[in-house]
Amino acid sequence: MPISLSDTLHNKTGTWRTFRPIHKNKLPPCNKKCPTGENIQKYIYLLLNKKYEEAYREIKKDNPIPSITGRVCPHPCESKCNRGEFDEPIAIHHIERFLGDYGLELKDNWEIEEKKEKIAIIGSGPAGLACAYHLRKKGYKIKIFEAENEIGGMLRIGIPDYRLPKDILDKEIKKLQEMGIEIETGVRINHPLDLAGNYDAIFVGTGAHISRKMGIPGEELDGVISGLEFLKKLNLGEKVKIGKKVAVIGGGNTAIDAARCALRLGAEVKILYRRSRNEMPAIESEVEEAEKEGIKIEFLTTPVKIIGKNQKVSTLECIRMELGEPDESGRRRPIPIKGSEFTLDFDTVILAIGEKVDLKLFENIETTSWGVKTDQYTRTTHEKVFAGGDCVTGPSTVVEALGAGKRASIAIDCFLKGEPLPVIKDKKPVTIENINLDYFERKKRKEPEKIEFNRRVNSFDEIWLRFDEKDLLEEAERCFSCGVCNRCDNCWVFCPDLSIIRNEEYSVNYDYCKGCGICARECPRYVITMEEER
């Protein structure tokens, strides 16, 4: 009887192959979209495995203040989340906050190899803090100079408590100080090069703090206040007097924040914005929240004159607008409609039409019409001076500033070591077409709870509660993990040739893989690519 005496392992069926599968992680769109380059997919993966601390440390690699971005970031990551095209994007923002808060309770045990070089950072806002953090990790000695008496820049003066409680900010700052970052407050630096003698490099992250004027009659009246001024006083605990009927002019984040703060102070608030909802630069969800809280928005409306009574604001004369051709910002330009003037009665007017950068700081350094001129690595025209954040871009987001600070840290490190700068590659992220949707069921996005409505509009208490852990995990489970292996095992499960090797990472046993391609096809997340055999 012919009986088998050995197995088929001698038969290397890999020779049949014309295409070979390769496990190669790709770039998820969320990671790509995050200005500070958070590895979002990875920390969600760690979270799902209940490795909360590791997940926190993963964010912390790119983001020095996750509990803050977890609260205030407009989360561009979510806007590109492939899941958004399937049902709803992953609540990355809330996940980040959960992990950030989790991290606040942990001690960061840094093992820093000290370098001798000293770096000065001007401004303790998000850009400065990020630059300081990343450079400190590399061992540089850091000193931050802050003009105000308190640390945090726009984080402290620009963001209301209901979005970012001060104790959270303080805790994050404390963590940074524990790394050995020195911060001196109440010191105004007149020019970055003033520090050039004592420091090897200087990073400028001074922000955009000059409120724009409207240039209409009545701006000097009592009861007219700039949005940033209003927020700053409020945030620093100073007394602010406002009336019962408040108009907020503008459509950006400052306008929305100011309006919602005024509401919380007991006023009836109306926002006047000269374009339509589509053009509003403010974070969309913030606008929606404001409206829910009872703030009315008059679109396509702008004041032409502030009328006072006894030097006090009493009435706004407004005009209706229509949208014309797009302007240089890409948004459609508002054009006044002749004869559409009308009046509205207010006792307080908050002007929040934008902030400018104080360019006096940058004498002898090249600037643009809105800020300091830098390249994508944050290098200014002076080799020792680097800049990032709002002072370069004009008013923007915290996360953009964090990204700039991080890029600056790389540029400064290279500069000090005399090394060439890394090439920034524009990698194509994974798209929804790459995802094998057969493996996903439509499922509603989970979010944490908010505090009760009445409490919300009558106090500065933080609106969002922390994610319930069960909901958090359910939400994390919705993540496609676009382009990144999360050990779903599918390649192994469906391999007819038992040719998937599962070690720390998955790989293919090319001795036997016949190249059928099932693994690539059935990978839910486009990790495996089929490449032609040469």
Binding site: D7, L9, N11, N490, P496, Y512, G515, G517
Partner: protein
């Protein structure tokens, strides 16, 4: 983040001779995972009589007896009897046959074994034609399909034999359909069969890229579509009467999605596809009725 939870242990090795993307190879892999190493397999003429590997090699880690084409069930019954008389009742006996060896040439022995309620697991891995001999039609070939003996001008013009109903009519304790596209369901069924005494018949849908004229990486996708279109529903029948539907698609997909992936259906006109759709709908309705009557 596992989607399917398969037993870890492999009772099969690579180096086997299955074509790229072979559904039958996967079917064996899953089945042996479920049955474990205390299993003896008998295989009649079919793709697997080649896949396992030429003398003196074998890709299986369990004993394998190659038997004559029409004898899978009878051979299994013999092995069972031989083991039982030696007191080895805990060893699984698996008859592993293709659709030709089951629907056609082997149906007599299968019917005999089922009627006697032999304590065996009979798996028909169905690739819907005589693939090993070069894609000739079998009574498992679906209506409309091209094969080398049903050329496009005279495609198969009779429906696939309802082997599951035939087996259920024997009133054996367990009959089930399964698919390589649903490995966890497949494994659950084989494990269930393992723990039932008597004849267990599992009909496994196993795409053949070579014979179906599809891409080798389509195997799993097509398997899923077969279930989602109700061309090959997944269900169980206990004791010949109790029907259990395992997967009910939320929205039944149109058969054309299934057909268009396979070259063997390429010649079909819209009208013919419509006919196939009607038949699938009708059979699906009947199945639902059977499942609900309990």
């Amino acid at each position: 983040m596992k989607i399917f939870n398969l037993p870890e242990k492999e009772n099969m090795r690579p180096g086997h001779l299955a074509c790229q993307g072979c559904g039958a190879a996967l079917a064996m892999r899953y089945t042996l995972k479920a049955l474990g190493e205390k299993t003896i397999v008998t295989i009649p003429a079919c793709c697997w009589s080649v896949i396992d590997g030429p003398f003196p090699y074998s890709s299986l880690k369990v004993p394998l007896f190659h038997c004559a084409f029409e004898t899978a069930a009878a051979s299994a019954a013999g092995i069972r009897a031989g083991l039982d008389i030696k007191g080895l009742e805990d060893i699984n006996v698996l008859a592993w046959a293709g659709d030709g060896g089951t629907f056609d040439i082997g149906i007599q022995a299968l019917s005999g074994a089922a009627e006697r309620n032999e304590n065996i697991i009979y798996v028909c891995y169905d690739n819907e034609a005589y693939m090993n001999t070069g894609i000739q039609r079998s009574s498992a070939t679906p209506y409309g399909a091209w094969t080398t003996t049903t050329p496009v001008k005279h495609y198969k013009n009779r429906p696939k034999k309802d082997i599951v109903a035939i087996m259920a009519a024997h009133r054996i304790p367990y009959v089930a359909t399964a698919s390589v596209g649903y490995p966890d369901d497949l494994i659950r069924k084989v494990e269930k069969a393992k723990n039932i005494k008597g004849t267990k018949f599992i009909h496994i849908y196993a795409p053949c890229p070579t014979g179906w004229k599809c891409k080798p990486d389509d195997t799993i996708k097509i398997s899923r579509l077969a279930v989602e279109t109700a061309v090959f529903p997944l269900y169980e029948i206990e004791n010949g009467y109790k029907y259990i539907l395992n997967i009910k698609p939320e929205v039944k997909k149109p058969v054309t999605e299934y057909l268009k992936m396979q070259g063997r259906f390429r010649h079909l006109t819209e009208k013919e596809i419509e006919m196939i759709q009607k038949e699938v709908d009708f059979q699906w309705k009947r199945l639902l009725e059977k499942c609900n009557q309990n």
